[in-house]
Assembly symmetry: C2
Homo-oligomer: 431 residues x 2
């Protein structure tokens, strides 16, 4: 594909007008201020006038399999929400339900410009098949939990993960990766945690874990573990000795932040979910100041309730300005970095996250010829503070168009809607 | 128009499926669970399957004339932003510039489902003509400011407002109304404030005013006025003895909240703007508990930077859950009320803001056959927490379709873009 005479945002987050960007196979192969000599080598020519090209977004924390639960429990205290709505519904989920819920989320992610997701749920076959068919990059895992004092390597979640690695890891031209995971400190015992860290190191895979989402879990961890915070405890158990993504980190101390930086842990902050569940506001500015790799996550659609990443990026930006009292906090370039490159880094995808020759062609086209994008004093400002998720008219992953103008070439969207409804009806009728 | 077999949200904020809603002239004339007997009386039949019908939104605080300034100054401290970017640009604005900027905002408002706006800026002719041509309901005003100790009735802003009342008030079948206004306590002297209150009472018009947007203005007011807060001071000067809309009210005390309730002042809260400019978070839950009429405003696109009211409603809802620590705060029904009926009430439009027979036909159709609106456990939940502003595929004001599927039947959108660019170029080149 050759994007012709288009405005794009480069790896330094500068707005460059009148550019030609070509892709060959899965990669970006041409960037110039004029058409390449043999333009036809790049295949389809795309008229870029009135459009903005940016790199795709990376969603650093998500549970796509919860696609069936959007809007199912609302406006409830956390315990009621979990115990009266989420857990009873989840108890009836099959691998096939997770497949259809995840595929719905893949469609939504592509529509909203997410090209890669870091995803934790259950049923590796349902998840893996959904990401294979869904067309997004995914680092997926099942979050292990243990209340019985087992070693991770003796648990079914370990066996399932190892099987998933065999079946899916680095499949689809490296688009799909399998991570290890424990759900959280408060849903596991130390033996499992230490054993998980060992197994992940043996295999050299990433770990995903929830950390300090609420005050309650953070305080209870200190009681259980001789005053250690979840961050300090997990570090001591070796969880951060492999590349790790710690979701939330709302209630972390300066000492925790030091650990996260030293261990190169990615913090996947989920501002909308944290607000919606009233968990609090993560000290992101302190993390950024310390040099922590902060990436952005949606969490699930049950607590968000969408995967609209431009909306997530905007709320992230505005929230931290507002809470800090500093309107200069989170620059537009920082916001875009956190929404794209930082997430790609966390997934171990070094050739992703920015528009550079040789990088993966994970590209979004936005239609900026719309009232809310006028005037265009600075299109980066408009992108961060004014754009809509629906301005994205084309999403390309690894050089393949996966969404364009309301259509997903590889998906039967009406069938997905029907299967999602069918699963929901079956589950609700059996509750 | 007859919306056939559509799901709608009624005046009690219940989701009603399979409804037929008819309009005749500017009003809603039929609501039923089956087609009316003489369906053809209602004109065009609209297939409502897969769609959601809701009442249009009312934007309780806005400065549409600032349409040219979107994204012009970003990521700056408030003083720098105002003095280095906004004021120098504004000094070059003409009435014609304000017309085009306002018309751009009208297009955006209609696209995002805003049917009525409470609007403060300058150049009544530019504003009035833009709202006349733009097709939205507007209560508009010019915010008076005085540092010379003048009486309002001797000021040019008074004369201009009285002329605007002659020319525009209750024109376009009552669609356009002219309010009185003072910009804020910190930009006026007591003589003007008291005189404005008298003039507004004589004419029986509403007043618009900014109140306690920042800590600084609130503290300085106390120094200037014997310890009185802006709310207490304005009340003492008689400003709240007419129907008044107080924008922001971020830094108000429990005593202030009592005054606002007693005087039936509408608080126009602007959560996105307050976050972006780092002004703080208004104590909205306290206001609601006290029984204050809280409505929702966007503020201008220079500090928001869009008029996407579903996004505003979402951020409003999530922010107050998150800040209060109570995930049950701001129910979906409350959020929708605040975004629609509460704003209509503040504008003195008793026949607006809810879908009821005899009310004005200010209606929005949302396409809910999209991934982020699936599954549909509860469409009110999906509307508040998942919908996108772009799901709005039709906006009707007073029975007239003003936006449908990317088109504004009464506007030449490309001409508006061109005129906005032309104005911006002229102003920037003369700075």
């Amino acid at each position: 594909m050759l994007f012709c005479d288009i405005t794009y945002i480069n790896a330094q987050y500068e707005v460059i007008e009148h550019a030609w960007i070509g892709t060959s196979g899965s990669r970006i192969s041409y960037i110039g201020s004029a058409a390449p000599e043999k333009a036809t080598d790049y295949g389809r020519a795309y008229d870029g006038r009135g459009k903005l090209l940016i790199n795709g977004f990376f969603n650093a924390h998500s549970h796509s399999g919860m696609g069936l639960l959007r809007g199912y429990g609302e406006n409830m205290a956390l315990d009621d929400w979990l115990h009266k709505r989420i857990f009873p519904f989840e108890a009836h989920l099959s691998s096939e339900d997770v497949y259809w819920g995840s595929l719905l989320c893949c469609a939504e992610m592509l529509r909203y410009g997410i090209v890669g997701t870091t995803d934790m749920y259950m049923f590796t076959n349902g998840m893996g098949d959904a990401f294979r068919d869904g067309g997004v990059k995914a680092n997926f895992c099942i979050g292990a939990a243990d209340f019985e004092g087992r070693a991770y390597r003796d648990m079914p979640q370990c066996r399932e993960t190892l099987q998933a690695i065999e079946k899916y890891h680095n499949s689809e031209d490296n688009r799909i990766k399998v991570d290890f995971s424990m759900h959280a400190e408060y849903t596991s015992q130390e033996k499992m945690v230490r054993s998980l860290a060992e197994v992940a190191q043996e295999h050299g895979h990433n770990i995903q874990v929830h950390v300090s989402e609420t005050v309650k879990e953070t305080e209870e961890c200190r009681q259980r573990h001789h005053g250690l915070s979840p961050t300090a405890y997990l570090a001591q158990c070796g969880i951060f000795d492999v590349p790790a993504t710690a979701a939330h980190c709302v209630h972390v101390t300066p000492d925790d932040i030091d650990i996260l930086r030293e261990k190169s842990v990615t913090v996947a902050t989920c501002p909308k979910s944290n607000l919606k569940l009233a968990s609090g506001v993560a000290p992101i500015l302190d993390m950024l100041k310390a040099g922590v790799n902060v990436a952005l996550g949606t969490d699930s659609v049950a607590s968000n309730n969408n995967l609209n990443f431009i909306e997530e990026m905007r709320i992230f930006s505005l929230l931290h300005k507002g809470i800090s009292g500093d309107p200069t906090a989170i620059t537009p370039a920082q916001a875009l970095h956190i929404a794209s490159k930082a997430g790609a880094v966390s997934q171990g995808r070094k050739d992703c996250g920015s528009i550079e020759i040789g990088n993966r062609a994970d590209l979004l086209v936005l239609d900026v010829n719309r009232p809310h994008m006028k005037p265009a004093h600075n299109l980066l400002h408009n992108l961060i503070y004014a754009a809509s998720g629906d301005d994205i008219v084309l999403t390309m992953v690894d050089g393949i168009v996966r969404y364009e103008n309301g259509d997903w070439p590889h998906l039967d969207i009406e069938k997905i809607y029907a299967q999602v409804d069918k699963s929901c009806q079956r589950i609700i009728s059996s509750l």
